[in-house]
Structures are given as C-alpha cells and as structure tokens.
Symmetry: C2
Subunit: 143 residues, 2 copies
C-alpha cells in the first residue's frame, strides 16, 4: 500500500453552512450533486452529508455520539484489481471490512475498511478523478 491519502471527506449536517464556513476562510470549491470538492495541496477535501457518508462507508452512524468519526480518509488507486488487492490486505491486517468492494454509483469500484479504532478508509478506483503520475489527486472541472 502506498503511503498516501488522496481524499478526506468531512461529514456535515448542513452543507450550506459548512460550505459558507470554508468559503469565509478563503477556500474555493466546486459543488456537484450536494457534494463540495476543494483542492487541498495534492489531495481533495470533500464536504458531504454526514448521514450519506456513514451509510456509504457501511457504518450505521446516525447523529453524533454514535462512534462514527464523521471523517473518511481515502486512497484512490488506478484499477479495480488494485482495490481488491488492498482491501484483502487490510482484512489480513485485521481491519473490519465495512463495505465489500463493489461497483459504485459514480462508475467506479470501491470498498471501505475500519482501522483498529474505527477510523474509516475508502479504497477506490474512480475514473472521474484520475491520479497524477506522482499519485497526487488533481480535482478536474466537475461542472
């Protein structure tokens, strides 16, 4: 597994409020389908519904105080085969697989695991978010 994080998704309860907050700090992002993508150095910071994020990550996660971090780290890879390989390796390492690798609604392939403290990782192949040669992620024009 490469030592790399390509996306961090923050679960938020009010997308408008959170987007305004980050904009007030000077961040500029792109909103697509109730999801806001900010370029953050060589990676992406994403704002998305906390409930959808929990569901999408395969954890029950309802309101806060439920043991769901509300944050998911992601490592994007270059193929579905690499996703299967890394999820299998995580399982061998003792991770709980919270979502088995499968095709995704965005035309990619991904799975999720929880580390020993329940911190979630999504391992994804997403043809819509291609990786640079050095493995960094440059968010394309999404509009």
């Amino acid at each position: 597994m490469d030592q790399r994080i390509t996306l961090i998704t923050l679960g938020v309860s009010d997308l408008r409020r959170s987007t305004s907050f980050y904009e007030a700090l000077g961040w500029r992002g792109q909103e697509v389908e109730e999801t806001v993508f900010f370029q953050a150095g060589g990676m992406g910071l994403v704002l998305w519904s906390r409930e959808k994020l929990a569901r999408d990550s395969g954890v029950p996660g309802l309101p806060s105080g439920d043991g769901f971090d509300g944050i998911v780290l992601a490592q994007n890879l270059r193929s579905a085969a690499e996703v299967d390989e890394l999820i299998a390796r995580a399982e061998s390492a003792g991770a709980a697989i919270t979502r088995a690798p499968a095709e995704t609604f965005y035309g990619g392939y991904a799975g999720c695991f929880a580390d020993p403290d329940g911190h979630l990782w999504e391992i994804a192949f997403n043809p819509g978010l291609p990786l640079e040669d050095d493995g960094s992620l440059r968010i394309p024009e999404l509009g």
Copy 2:
C-alpha cells in the same frame, strides 16, 4: 488561508496495535515519544493517544461516543504571526476556538478550532517540521 492540509492525526486507544496495523498494510513510520509519524504523499499521517489528542485540541473527548471525531486535520504555517491571523479569521468565520493560540511544548506556536460540525483543525507553526517551498510537509529524521 491556503487550501492545504499538512497533517492528519488519528487518535488511537492502543498505539502498539495501531502501529502494527498500519505496518501490516506496508506503511513505515518513525516513532518518537509515543507518537508515530508516517510520510503520506506531501503530508504526514500521525498516530497518537486519543485522550492526549482530545486534550491537546481543547475538547473534553474521553471514550468514543463523546462527539470527539478522534481525527484532527492540521495546517502548518511559517510563523506564529500567521497562526494568529488564521485563528482570528476562523473565529470571524464562526469557528469555535477550542484552544487559543499559544506556545507549545515542542517549541512551536499553535491553536485549534472546530468547524460547524466540530471537525477539528490545528493551525501550527512548528520549527521542527519545516515546510517545503510548495507548502508540502516532508517529515524529517526525528530520531
């Protein structure tokens, strides 16, 4: 504020167990004073005691289920003055300042704020973790 995350710290309940887990995934880090630093692309991923992380971030945060994410994003800057400026800006943007900027035990200067959902950011000047010209963070030999 630059659109950049320089460190992600995962709060863990058993440093040994978590370090073994990430090592089993193939990650290699440096352990210094019960803290493990992994280079992760142009940033750092850090494992540290969940309780210490909560305390250090200015939130009560005891066991899980307390509303503490257990994850802190950080943006490292180049001076104490830049830290003050950004924390003030975050406060104007509506952030809760969970730890007012002050000198730190590692000879730096830092403060913490919570975004609208309580996701924590540490804004830090840390002379021991110098930034590259492009703003990325290269973890030095810490031994």
